[in-house]
């Protein structure tokens, strides 16, 4: 789980109806706040009081809450609502200039995806994740983390795929037998993505308790009854040669391989024969006619 916060960039928390992700989001926020970072929260789905409940006061003082839940369409016109709507709020966070590690939590990204065009949201998220790498040319080493809560079942494969391609880390929540698990896919740049599974549970004060898996292992084991078979046993030809046999094999010249000695031997007549002899034994059916059969032709 540490790697989730260690890498900067966009972290997608994909949850579903059975395995909700807001508690994990709050646990990660608490962890970031305990490290002394500034945490900005864009709250769209639940009210501020409901979100802040469960955090103690020290953490609550470090959270800066931008409330879009109370008045999302800016109808009240009292100046409390955020100017520019949700997109304006995101852009305002882009233009932040004070240094230091920085975490933004979007609760939830699904709400933003349903209310904003997908392309504008993707561009804003990309600008948010990369803004610390080039503010006026200097390169800051502090990562910007954007934690986005995404309800998988609300969106089709298109927006989900588009957001996944932008994300540095994707945490998919699922579970078995009453225990929640997180499948973490982290994509470091220029490296193969790493997939790991972490079983966890969230304690009432929103601290994270990492655990091993549930008691019943349901992974498939290789069948222990079939012993691995040695394919080199029970073969009709000899696979293992003794040293003498190997030497004899290596020194054998194959019929199509012409070494120079063999060529010379074939071209030059041997010492025993001056000319070549043909030995012929005629049998009963042979017709020893000395005439040339081609004489019959009038050519």
């Amino acid at each position: 789980m540490e790697s989730v916060l260690a890498l900067g960039g966009l972290v997608l928390l994909r949850d579903s109806v059975e395995w909700e992700g807001r508690s994990l989001l709050k646990a990660l926020i608490k962890k970031a706040a305990l490290c002394g970072e500034q945490v900005h929260i864009l709250g769209c789905e639940v009210s501020e009081d409901e979100f802040r409940e469960g955090f103690d006061s020290s953490i609550n003082s470090r959270l800066i809450y931008h409330d879009l839940f109370r008045d999302p369409l800016s109808w009240s016109q009292t100046g409390e609502a955020l100017p520019g709507g949700p997109l304006g709020a995101l852009q305002a966070m882009c233009r932040r200039t004070d240094p230091g590690p920085f975490t933004i939590a979007l609760d939830s990204l699904s709400w933003l995806l349903l209310h904003l065009p997908c392309t504008a949201l993707c561009q804003a998220l990309c600008a948010l994740s990369h803004q610390h790498s080039r503010p006026g040319g200097s390169c800051l080493a502090e990562p910007v983390r954007v934690l986005g809560l995404l309800h998988e079942e609300l969106h089709g494969p298109g927006p989900l795929g588009a957001l996944s391609s932008l994300a540095q880390t994707e945490v998919t929540l699922s579970g078995a037998m009453g225990q929640a698990s997180a499948h973490i896919l982290s994509r470091r740049p220029r490296q193969r993505p790493a997939l790991q599974t972490q079983w966890f549970s969230i304690l009432p004060d929103f601290s994270l308790d990492l655990q091993g898996g549930p008691l019943l292992e349901s992974q498939p084991h290789p069948d222990p009854h079939t012993a691995p078979v040695d394919p080199t046993a029970h073969v009709t030809f000899n696979l293992h040669l003794s040293k003498k046999e190997r030497e004899a094999k290596d020194s054998l010249t194959l019929p199509f391989q012409f070494s120079s000695e063999k060529q010379q031997a074939l071209l030059r007549p041997g010492p025993g024969q001056a000319t070549s002899h043909i030995f012929y034994e005629p049998d009963a059916y042979d017709d020893l006619d000395q005439d040339d059969p081609d004489d019959d032709l009038d050519v």
Binding site: L87, Q91, L116, P117, C118, T119, A120, C122, Q123, A124, C126, A127, S133, R134, G156, P157, G158, P159, G161, A162, S165, L166, R187, R190, Q191, R192, P193, L195, T226, V229, D230, P231, A233, H234, V235, L254, F256, Q257
Partner: protein
Amino acid sequence: MAAVATCGTGVGSTGSMVAATSKNNVTSFQRKGPRASGTDSGCSRLVSIAGTRPSVRNGQLLVSTGLPALDQLLGGGLAVGTVLLIEEDKYNIYSSLLFKYFLAEGIINGHTLLVASAKEDPADILQELPAPLLDDNYKKDFDEDVCNHQTPDSNIKMKIAWRYQLLPKIESGPVSSSRFGHYYDASKRMPQELIEASKWHGFFFPEKLSSTLNIEPCSLTHGYRKLLQFIQKVIYEEGFDGSNPQKKQKNILRIGIQNLGSTLWGDDICCTENCDNSHSLTKFLYVLRGLLRTSLSACIITMPTHLIQNKAIIARVTNLSDTVVGLESFIGSERETNPLYKDYHGLIHIRQIPRLNNLIYDVSDVKDLAFKLKRKLFTIERLHLPPDLSDTVSRSSKQDLAESSKLLGPGCGMMAGGKQHLDF
């Protein structure tokens, strides 16, 4: 095509002898060769630009894609004036590597680069280019690689089956005098002085966006329009289309566009199936190809086609590009554990090869190609089936191979195609 068209002006005209009052010739027919008059600088001579060579089949001017193995599969290289479209693999690891090889090849040959991206700053992309491999260092590493693979037994095998040594092999090592394609070490960075000595133009789309993001779906071609204007400006100002006749030395412009069609360019074909401006990408490709055909440039585009929701758009995009290469990596898929693919990192599909001034395609007969990224090399090899083991091996693994061999083309041998294995 711009570069190597033989001079048609002289041959085509049927002007009479009276009309031909050019200084040197009596007739209006002009001979191709060094004796031709220098009135037209673009034609009647094979232009000798660094890093290019004419194709052996049709005389087309080719540039290297940065991967000699890919050059061989595309018929010698990428033709000047065409688009190479790379369909990205799922996590965009290998396609960005091919993109960088293309740009690195441009720097080594002294070509001008134009890098466009909506995700990364082009200056950062250029910092991450791989370093070129010098010939003598490379030969040492390649030889030790080959020695590691070859066991003494393999020499004995070829002694009896000596005819197989005569079969042509796909070139996987460096050609001795490879001036055309170079090899790159993906683990090292290109030296800073080479990057600074090169000429490049960058287009980073978020910088060009207006400061207020407007939500209304005005023009989805906004990003594309800006990019086309930028490319046109560079081509015109630098004289790649022959518009600046005072240019002393002709050069090639290598254009690289990353992640075209993704949401960061403002196009929503990756988000929805029925989008309003589904034709903006195809219009862009059409105009881009027009710009390329009239200038000395070659373009590489990587596109996340696995995210495009409407499959008709993918078909249109394929038709509008010249060469299309698809990458499919095994990461995260069930093929990773398949014994057939255990040596490789992914499959490479050559989806389309253009017919340029030709009636026939230049396809190779090998359809099953796989790639792997070794420590320093990106190799593309023909996919071979492993040898069929004897029948004392358990049946399940044989079934797996039979299932996966159905995916292979006919080039891999018909024996493994059937589900039943003949037992003798």
